[in-house]
Subunit: 331 residues, 2 copies
């Protein structure tokens, strides 16, 4: 199969070329043409997954695709933008039909769910890497930024923290300080499945972010661990963020299969959770909790914004540079 | 250096973070926020360069960066869009300061020339690949598409054809059927320099495309060789395109250093020229020539659109599937 056959069979398909009025020209020309509605802003981000760095060699194509689109959608969630469309740059050593079919299926699942259309891309030969560029829309001045944290605000996180790192551990890949109580094969099957899905199928918190944006002061998605990402909120706001480790929300699977120290390492330095970490005025806590409850989404206050600087953990000394850095850490 | 140090030193720099009123939020958050002016459309494309596929292992960082941005700008030229901004996904086995400084310099040259700002990206560890996603603007309904070719139109190409393949040959990398009259080291220095620049510094034909768009019926940029790319114009228009090989424009360096058969192979199947190939009504030829002449840009009528289908070369039989396919051909 040549590049154009592959595009026709696996990418220029109805499940991915979703019709949206904003898309005037999609796959098939030198570029896509988009009409951004009046009174909207375009929000755009890009994230790469490289084999051996972001997922283990030999991972399933469907899982890789799903994770690649999910982490990009998570960037839109962190801005409180609604998904519009994406482009895909896929580099692959060979063109196996089964692999491509699985990859296409993995993309289509999330693309359909979020009405996020594939509008173009590039396909070429080389070591396996997936780069998605995502486009979303938001109202002028209503995007969530990292820079709004102010002393006195509360710090929240959606969902559970640490499961991304446990997902990697379940795949046999260690994060320093993170371990499970038993070899992956000996864990309860539902815990193993939970960790696997946490890693490969993170849930972009778009709906929550869109509904709650007006109540939020600053936001980021947790891709590098709370230490690093809440640290970015602190730095961007010129404030300190103090987390209470007793408050961190762990999944039933994490509580079942990992000790306290391991859970804390996974949450602070594990990365790959793709939950939202955000700050908000304390009087908005009730509204935020009600929105999350309406979505069956766990939402937890994990700390507060303080004067000063940096990321602090109540009762602990935390050194700098401890977050997961995809450039320095090779998986 | 960690990811954030690298971004601060080499990417979040004034030479790349160009101020433009459309950019409300650039590098430094989860995503960029763009204000698309009323009455404009957003035009977006993505292209990857992978080491070993698109450029030889060990190529200079500045050249890689320059080429990566140029080929993306060329996609905007093929749509007659004006550049706005780009994101960068860079995957690299290590973080050497010299390499990054060269790469940043290579980007900054073209970014400044085309006022195309870097607004975000992703940086991680893995085999060297560069994916740029480019954003441009055009007036509604005025973008050039591939699909407008109709029988009776003339077929044009800007600049010279074949020099991309000769550039590869000059780097010691063969394209089937393409050879130089002497080993690269024995070629005249100015020819060698010309081929090198043709490969690493293709000139995106933005200015010409913007000025000439109203006179053009269909357009594509030549990235895979005339056979493949003019073939796309033929297929998209449901017509045939017949090229006269006697009319193909070769650079003085190509005429100096390669035989006729080799030049024809380079033009038809070499790829990497990043010139514009387009069709236009014959009565527009004078206007097109005048615009090109005003820019000192060679412009040549190389054939015509005919009824029927496919790419035809006057006096030759041309088989299918002969264009350069970056997926099937490993460099």
């Amino acid at each position: 199969m040549g590049e154009h056959d592959i595009i026709r069979r696996y990418f220029a398909v109805p499940e991915l070329m979703l019709a949206r009025p904003e898309i005037e020209l999609g796959i098939g020309d030198d570029a896509a043409v988009l009409r951004i509605p009046e009174g909207k802003r375009l929000v755009t981000a890009t994230d790469t997954l490289a084999e051996g760095t972001h997922f283990p060699t030999g991972a399933e194509a469907e899982s890789i695709a799903s994770r690649a689109l999910a982490v990009n959608l998570s960037d839109l969630a962190a801005m409180a933008a609604e998904p519009l469309c994406f482009t895909l740059a896929l580099t692959r050593p060979a063109a196996e039909a089964d692999w491509l079919a699985g990859f296409s299926r993995g993309l289509a699942g999330l693309a359909g769910e979020f009405r996020c259309a594939l509008v173009g891309g590039d396909l070429c030969r080389g070591p396996l890497q997936v780069t998605i560029q995502i486009h979303g829309l938001c109202e002028p001045g209503r995007e969530l930024r990292r820079s709004g944290a102010r002393p006195g605000q509360a710090v929240f996180v959606t969902g559970y923290v640490g499961d991304g790192a446990f997902g990697l551990a379940g795949l046999g890949i260690a994060t320093p300080g993170v371990s499970l109580d038993a070899p992956p094969a000996d864990l309860p099957a539902d815990c193993r499945a939970h960790f696997h899905d946490a890693f490969y199928r993170p849930r972009p918190r778009i709906a929550f972010a869109r509904a709650a944006a007006a109540l939020i002061a600053s936001a980021i998605d947790v891709s590098d661990g709370l230490l690093g990402d809440a640290g970015h909120l602190a730095a961007a706001g010129g404030v300190g963020i103090r987390i209470d480790p007793e408050c961190l929300p762990y999944s039933p699977a994490a509580l079942c299969c990992a000790g306290e120290a391991s859970r804390l390492h996974a949450a602070l330095r594990g990365g790959d959770d793709y939950e939202l970490c955000f700050t908000a005025e304390p009087e908005n806590a009730g509204g935020l909790m009600a929105i999350a409850a309406g979505m069956n989404l766990p939402l937890t206050q994990i700390g507060e914004v303080v004067a000063g600087e940096g990321f602090q953990v109540k009762g602990m000394e935390v050194g700098g540079g401890l977050s997961f850095d995809h450039f320095q850490n090779h998986r």
